[in-house]
Symmetry: C2
Subunit: 160 residues, 2 copies
């Protein structure tokens, strides 16, 4: 276990990283809202997964990642259910609250600790959190193309 010294240089504080993530999660929520419900689990380009499955993956990674870091329990299921859009949004909002609550419980030193996320992916806690955020941005970018191909104007990328 490696921990940063208290005098380590700061690019991003824990508070700033949380706000950054929740800003992205607000944008992704707007994409879910904009996505036609009847295409959520069916529409695909190039054999890629439908947007609804990608969103379920985001939900499976986000709060469960923090739960795992805090408790050492990693128990996410990778079988993604096909849920109605309002239930997805309800789970999204629940995740938002869960992330805020767990983030407040995490000691600052923990960001530099080494963990094996979901029992499979080794890395420091901040790397795991960045991976969760990047995976969301990556798959949301895919959702932008799906929306455009469906003739729907997506929400602005720079608005959080």
């Amino acid at each position: 276990m490696t921990t940063a010294s208290p005098a380590a240089a700061v690019a991003i504080t824990p508070e700033a990283l949380l706000e950054h993530w929740q800003g992205h999660r607000r944008l992704t929520r707007r994409l879910i809202e904009a996505f036609p419900e009847d295409q959520l689990f069916t529409y695909s380009i190039g054999g890629m997964r439908p947007f609804g499955i990608l969103v379920m993956e985001m939900l499976t990674i986000a709060a469960p990642m923090l739960h795992g870091v805090l408790t050492g329990e990693w128990n996410a299921s990778w079988d993604h259910e096909e849920l109605p859009k309002d239930e997805i949004l309800r789970q999204w909002d629940q995740s938002t609250e869960d992330i805020n609550r767990m983030w407040a419980q995490m000691p600052a030193e923990q960001f530099q600790e080494h963990v094996v996320a979901f029992g499979q992916y080794p890395g420091k806690v901040y790397e795991q959190l960045l991976y969760a955020i990047d995976n969301e941005i990556h798959h949301r970018g895919q959702g932008y193309v799906y929306l455009r191909a469906l003739g729907i104007e997506p929400p602005a990328f720079y608005e959080r």
Copy 2:
């Protein structure tokens, strides 16, 4: 101008943020290599910009962002040239070196300073850098869909 106190909690250090960015930039470089040259500035889905234009945008943001932060000079051009792939890769590698060199010159306190990037976008330096990274991930995600739609297997997202 706001600066973090030396004892501020650290989620991500400057070194870690640079490594995170360059890891993403290595992945984007592999996507550029994988993209068929004759489709780079022509292929589009849903009226979105071709991948080559998005890559030129990334180049226009990345090193010029750091140059602006360090010098206060913001002079990026938003008219994106259509260049041959080998010239794009050459500019990409030059940017990699430029970013490493400028990053080493940046005092740690500067990450918390407020700037108006490119004379238009206000925010703290770390927010500007995260925006550059996020914009790259977002548009690269778009490139993944283009590649799949062209029948080409993209490089693995988790390999950096």
